[in-house]
Amino acid sequence: MTPERWQQIEKLLNAALELDAGQRAAFLGVACTGDEALRKKVEALLAHEDRAEKFIEAPALEEEAKRIAADQARSHVGRQVGPYRILSLIGAGGMGEIYLAQDERLGRKIALKLLPASFTQDQERVRRFEQEARAASALNHPNIITIHEIGQVDGLHYIATEFIEGQTLRQQLKTARLKLRAVLEMAVQVASALTAAHAAGITHRDIKPENTMVRPDGLVKALDFGLAKLTERPAATVDMDATTNAEVRTDPGTVMGTAHYMSPEQARGLKVDGRSDIFSLGVVLYEMIAGKTPFEGATTTDVLASILRVEPVPLSYYSPEMPAELERILAKALEKEREERYQTVKDLLPDLKRLKQRQEFEAELERSVQPGTSGGTGMATSGGAEAAVRTERDGEARTTSNAKSLISQITSDKQKIILVLAVLIIAAATLSFYFSRRPALTEADSIILADFVNTTGDTVFDSILKQALAIQLEQSPFLNIFPDERVRETLRYMNRPPGDARGRAGDLRAPGGQSPARRLDCAPRQPLRHHA
């Protein structure tokens, strides 16, 4: 092809590309009159249009790096490393490749992590790593991956661990929208893992969704305890403004996102402790709900700057129905000054657990309300009205389904009911105070939670009222709930006939005045009559 001929073709190509596919044949038919070869040539070139879109779009070097990594991985499959025979590649990360392998001695499957040579050339680093890995291998906790062995064969450093079937949290985040309850469940498990590790003096340093495995049965396992130490340089001397000091992994093939989960002290290259893990867990928790990490940036440096300076967007922006308590927990976990943060995971864990329990209870409550609601669409059918995370703000206005509004109505009714019950309980407590003739209610005192007669006509309240009250009261560290069993026993012992001292809770009217109001009479079924 001569340059002149090509210029001719080029002109026609450019013109044809501007046209819709359907118009091109006609256009070329006219434009190439008398030169059939020219038309054929242009059409042949145009035929590659679809493939051209992706062709050589990624730079050659990037492709090459991927290819080399893939080659390397392939070369290990089938290889024998100590007692392990490598079966297949499971994953790869900045810390090396992970393979599924067969332990020939014990005949079981294990996960084998091969450390990249670049990390193991520095003897001092290897020594520190082995020390840490040994400590981590002593950790015995259901939420921490079990390390079977660390070893070295032909200069190849490896770690043999339990093989966990499941997905990483990262994979889960990509495919599924997590419910708040699931999110809290996972956070609690990671926090439990951290509690055990911190107690043993081990800081994880690299808590992130990639390092968190979720088994199909819901059990969460934290991976790579202490491994991050391998990629860290010795802690920099204190230099409060030197954000550029931060050591960020930039190995090819490593996801840039690593910086997103760093604590401010890590971003500064300072020495870290357990509080750094708390921050990272906060970031993960935030991401599970918001769908993005709290500290974003176009480049690693921007992310680090954001970690050091930016206050995260409140969760309510992404998910208006998030409980305020969660917002508080996150704010405390994500405090930039570690002195202001939760000081230990032991402080964070009960907060998470309490929130999870409350969430479970509310979901339970709404599930039991469900059969009574009409419509049965939207949230009502999705098994409880658990707050669905990640509500798109910029989407269309959220449709409020019939069922949904009913549920919110019931929820607000529920709060009123609880309030009324609380008043009743206080009354009961007062009575028991007189009964026992004790001067004041102390921690040693118990509260008797009597049965309730549900006269609302709404059967769903039959069982849940008492449960609701019990759970609310249990939130207080100062109250002891007297077990049901013993109440009945005592009544039998006292041989008291059922009296008529019925507490009336009054009417509860649904907001907006629609529908017949639920009337609720609450009274002890076997009222206690107290005589001096």
Partner: protein, 124 residues
Amino acid sequence: MRWQNRAHFFAVSAQLMRRILIDMARSRHYLKRGGEAQQVSLEEALEVPIEREADLVALDDALNSLAAVDPRKAQVVELRYFGGLSVEETAEVLKVAPNTVLRDWRLAKLWLLHELSGENHDDA
């Protein structure tokens, strides 16, 4: 060597990178599939890596052919694909408008795919 300017530096880097990568590909001994259509492997290098070596060498040849009829388009490919430059950077190096780079890039890809597909026997 002294760099005359930034553009010069980029141009030379892209050239060097091209040479290194092609040499690497050549030195691997897979070269069994000459000019057949193997375009997919560039995108899916992880899945079909074996075809890639042949691919890269074939691409290099095709790029040389392109340079003979349209040197600037070949340069755009070199800068973008081997040099990893963005459209704007490429425009800066070649001292043309970014739109021109985009048009060149689009046509060069069609040209290369056509060349690599082996249909290009005739010299119309």
